[in-house]
């Protein structure tokens, strides 16, 4: 069950389920009014993807593997991006999320420097859409103007809306509610992404985490050694052909 204030939102990413299909990437673009990444944006290395699929090569033809991993803001409990912001544009809220206040942001880009996961993106231009495509823009999400930093928000607008509506209708918001789930989670056909409340011991994410973090379990965190205390738990890729645990 979900109650405002007492939640700690987080995600589980099962790398063994992920196929690298990029469905989550496009869903996030659609939900969050991310500017269209044109060819020149890729060429300038300034394309914006709040969630991205990293691809790692291993070996050579014919014994070759490509491995995929989705990476989005890890919503660190101990976030390196937060203390460096001179105007508190990025801060930690009481639901465990790392939040970006666009109206405060003055574009120093210190936070992007601080983030070891490289999940923060800067708007180098005023975002542009042809007039008719603006009809698709999500009215729940601010369009960020030039000079503003942006990143994965765990689709906070969905959390807000579903919490508000369930309170209004006197309904209980269940774990795994599709209105509460971020866009990427709902899109993922393989169920590689699972979202929920880590403060609720019965939630799916809590259960998976508990199991996965046991000795010999598949759980790990990205760059755990940095002490970022992330709210995203990854589950290891399984490869029967490898002898021991290793990685990229």
């Amino acid at each position: 069950m979900v109650t405002a204030g007492s939640n700690k939102w987080g995600m589980v990413v099962d790398v063994d389920r992920c196929t690298g299909c990029q469905g989550c990437v496009v869903a996030c673009q659609s939900e969050n009014n991310i500017p269209i990444n044109l060819e020149e944006h890729f060429n300038q290395r300034r394309a914006i993807q709040w969630i991205r699929i990293e691809r790692y090569w291993e070996g050579e033809y014919p014994n070759v593997k490509a491995r995929f991993i989705p990476v989005m803001c890890q919503h660190c409990g101990n976030a390196p991006c937060e203390p460096v912001c001179p105007v508190y544009a990025t801060y930690h809220n009481n639901e465990g999320m790392n939040v970006q206040v666009y109206n405060r942001c003055i574009g120093t880009r210190f936070c992007a420097n601080g983030c070891p996961y490289h999940v923060r993106f800067f708007n180098f231009w005023e975002p542009e859409w042809p007039e008719s495509l603006k009809n698709q823009l999500n009215p729940d999400v601010t369009v960020r103007s030039r000079g503003i930093m942006e990143k994965c928000s765990f689709c906070v607008q969905r959390i807000q809306r579903s919490t508000r509506e369930s309170e209004r209708d006197n309904e209980v918001l269940e774990d795994g509610d599709r209105g509460l789930n971020p866009a990427c989670v709902n899109a993922c056909a393989t169920n590689a992404l699972i979202f929920g409340n880590f403060n609720d011991p019965d939630s799916k994410v809590s259960q998976i985490k508990e199991d996965a973090m046991k000795e010999g379990g598949r759980g790990y965190r990205l760059m755990e050694n940095m002490g970022t205390d992330t709210n995203v738990v990854y589950l290891k890729k399984v490869d029967q052909s490898v002898e021991v645990t290793h990685g990229h």
Partner: protein
């Protein structure tokens, strides 16, 4: 039959309007009219959203979706969690349909050409005028007994739109061909021969523990990738034992990347490998099935030692695959894609699917589940398309002056046919080309008359999926928003495709024998037939309740209504060696589907900007080449290469070396190189389909699109490859610090 203007408008007006909210439970009392944002702003409560269920059937993908609508505008697409085919997940293609709906280059009124062909000079005309022009032409042909000089080329259309189209071509006497740039004909033919079924079975990947796939890039683009991906997730981590995926492919596809074992074979030898696996199994087992399958005793000549060299896989590996296959509890074999796109494609796929006979998994958990017939008589899934050879003949007929009117709908034959079939110049000989496209595609850009159809999110329809879930189902498509161009008035704007055909027929005085005058009513009347069955997941005491229920849930299905007949075992046929266009060319040219489907997605910027899974490239046409081969030749990323098959055609593509490309192969994504398709697609990249050799599968006449060989030559040009890789700095990694951690899975 003469129509007054008023009657005419009434006929055309019936399609838009009502939709039913998507909800998890309970049946709605009534249909709710979707409000036009322009009409009644005072009634709009800003900030309230509604979700409507419908189906998305673009590019052959059929998915149940729910669309979030606020203030009359569609904002977000998500998968319909109840819909049997995708159970909540959805493809990027479905998501990007929103950009098709609000595309800045949509056609907003009927057009007639004013400049030379292909000049993009058009003038708007009224619907009345446009329909009159088309019906006059068709009537004239009919009256002079030349009705068969009218040809209708469509995408594969099923459900009720298919019904209306069938009736329309019968009534007007036009010939009908259906078209897919990347054909599924070989697949459908092989499935028919092996399992005696017209549809594509459900492959129960979810419950399988060993998938042996041949060429079918089922996680990315093959047949129904969203639902296969869903099954794949469960196959990996949804059960006690993690399933094993062995993928046989001449290219390192996305499915190969996710496989536990990628078995690289020489192109066109997939069937030989399948035969060889069966040979091993027949030697090990005295299964009765081999008595039937191999009553001619042909398998013996396919022993691993006999085929190893040709296939390019050692006998040991073949034996090991056979062992894995026979030691699994629920093995399944699938094949398609490039495995069927050779001169021996049909033989390859027949051999591959026969493996399921050996596994005797037909109708079983984790196996091949055949689909029952459509629950509505006369309304069916899309039929198999016409083959490349038939379209080649069509182009000959055009040249001979035997085609006077060509009607096209979502079938881009100008783009998708290889240049050797000469379709482009053949089209010059057709006096009247009429398109029903709502957006410019290449064929539409040379059309003389355009009757723009609604976007599917504005229209009615049904879907009887060609690859059904293993039980009876009918997807329902309802308009989730009012037509975007409604404000242009009813004599301009767009109309529903089936409604356009019904109006043309009516103006011609032809009776289509349908149950109603508008498409919506035709569908509604047939929904009554479903209601009368008194079964399925929507149960209601009244038809109104039932109708609202199926619209609300996105369709009707009955999980108990299965195909029970067990098809007879089909004797194995031999597998010939594949032939290639050109023999001296250095590389096998392997076209593949990346993010743009068969080219239909090129107009949508989200799909253009979606990184290719393997290369992360976007917006361009690149050529995959082995990185060591590239190094030897002095080729680096972004070098512009010319690709030259033996047929003399040339395209240019950007070099994209990677370590997984077989050294004798180059891979080029399908989808770019359009002359039109709007601002995001026109003049971008190159079309690999245009340079293919006209080799065909010898059994079916379908294009053997993987049977071309090519040389590459370097140019002085270099263009930066727009790719996502390196957009963010690489993570610092060493032997103790990983980003992707990998475990053998032994320790838990």
């Amino acid at each position: 039959m003469a129509l007054t203007r008023r009657q005419f408008l009434t006929l055309m007006g019936g399609s838009a309007g009502a939709a039913v909210l998507f909800q998890a439970c309970g049946l709605p009392e009534k249909e709710l009219l979707i409000d036009s944002p322009a009409a009644m702003p005072e009634d709009l409560v800003s900030g309230t959203d509604n979700w409507y269920a419908t189906t998305s059937q673009q590019g052959g993908v059929s998915e149940g979706i729910v669309v979030r609508v606020m203030e009359g505008r569609a904002k977000k697409v998500e998968g319909n969690p109840d819909y049997p085919l995708n159970l909540g997940g959805h493809s990027a293609l479905s998501e990007a349909s929103l950009q098709g709906l609000y595309h800045p280059d949509r056609i907003s009124a009927p057009l007639v050409r004013t400049g030379p062909r292909g000049s993009s000079e058009y003038r708007e005309i009224s619907w009345e005028d446009a329909v009159a022009r088309l019906s006059a032409q068709l009537t004239e042909l009919k009256d002079s007994n030349e009705a068969n000089k009218a040809v209708f080329v469509s995408n594969p259309v099923g459900g009720h739109a298919g019904l209306v189209l069938d009736r329309f071509v019968t009534a007007t006497g036009a010939r009908h061909l259906s078209y897919e740039a990347v054909e599924n004909n070989v697949l459908r033919n092989a499935l028919k021969e092996v399992f005696g079924t017209d549809s594509i079975p459900e492959f129960d990947i979810d419950n399988s523990d060993l998938i042996l796939s041949f060429g079918a890039d089922f996680l990315s683009s093959w047949v129904s990738p969203t639902r296969y991906a869903r099954g794949y997730g469960e196959f990996r981590q949804g059960h006690e034992h993690r399933g094993k995926l062995i993928h046989v492919d001449s290219r390192f596809s996305m499915t190969a990347a996710n496989a536990d074992q990628w078995v690289h074979v020489n192109p066109g030898t997939e069937g030989l490998l399948a035969m060889s696996i069966m040979q091993v199994l027949s030697a090990d087992h005295s299964d009765a099935v081999f008595g039937e399958l191999d009553s001619d005793g042909i398998l013996d000549s396919y022993s691993p030692v006999n085929v190893a060299d040709v296939v390019g896989v050692s006998a040991d590996v073949i034996n090991k695959i056979a062992e894995d296959f026979s030691h699994s509890e629920h093995p399944i074999a699938l094949g398609g894609g490039s495995a069927g796109a050779h001169t021996n494609g049909n033989q390859n796929l027949k051999a591959i699917y026969s493996l399921n006979r050996v596994a005797s998994n037909i109708g079983k958990k984790g196996g091949v589940i055949l689909n029952p017939e459509s629950p509505i008589a006369g309304v069916s899934a899309p039929k198999a398309t016409n083959t490349f050879s038939e379209f080649h003949r069509l182009s000959e007929e055009m040249k001979a002056g035997n085609v006077s009117v060509l009607m096209v709908r979502d079938a881009d034959i100008y783009y998708g046919m290889t240049d050797t079939a000469d379709m482009k110049s053949a089209l010059d000989n057709v006096p009247l080309i009429v398109s029903f496209a709502g957006m410019m595609d290449d064929t539409t850009s040379i059309a003389d008359l355009i009757l723009p159809q609604h976007h599917f999110l504005e229209d009615w329809g049904t879907d009887i999926p060609v690859a059904g879930p293993g039980y009876e189902m009918v997807g329902f498509q309802q308009p989730v928003v009012r037509p975007f161009f409604e404000n242009r008035g009813s004599n301009l704007g767009t109309k529903g495709f089936a409604d356009i055909l019904m109006t043309v027929a009516q103006v011609m005085g032809q009776d289509l024998g349908l149950s109603a005058d508008t498409f919506k009513e035709v569908i509604r009347n047939d929904a009554r037939k479903l209601y009368d069955l008194r079964r399925g997941q929507v149960v209601s005491s009244s038809f109104e309740g039932f109708w609202n229920g199926v619209l609300q849930r996105g369709g009707w299905w009955d999980t108990e209504a299965k195909e029970r007949a067990e098809p007879a075992v089909k004797r194995l046929d031999g597998v010939d060696r594949a032939e290639f266009g050109g023999t001296n060319q250095e590389f096998y040219l392997q076209p593949f589907i990346s993010t743009l489907g068969d080219g239909t997605g090129a107009s949508l910027p989200w799909l253009q900007a979606m990184p290719d899974a393997i290369s992360t490239a976007t917006w361009q046409t690149w050529v995959e080449i082995n990185h060591k081969v590239a190094e030897e030749k002095g080729i680096s990323e972004g070098d512009v290469l010319e690709i030259r098959p033996s047929n003399g055609r040339v395209i240019r593509a950007l070099a994209m070396p990677n370590p997984a490309v077989p050294p004798d192969t180059i891979g080029i994504p399908i989808g770019q190189g359009h002359r039109d398709g709007g601002r995001y697609s026109a003049g971008r990249g190159a079309n690999v389909l245009s340079v293919l050799d006209p080799k065909v599968d010898s059994d079916t006449g379908s294009l053997a699109w993987a049977a071309t060989r090519a040389n590459i030559t370097m140019t002085d040009e270099w263009i930066r490859v727009p790719k996502f890789e390196n957009t963010v700095p690489e993570f610092p990694r060493d032997e103790h610090h990983h980003i992707i951690e990998i475990t053998s899975g032994e320790d838990h």
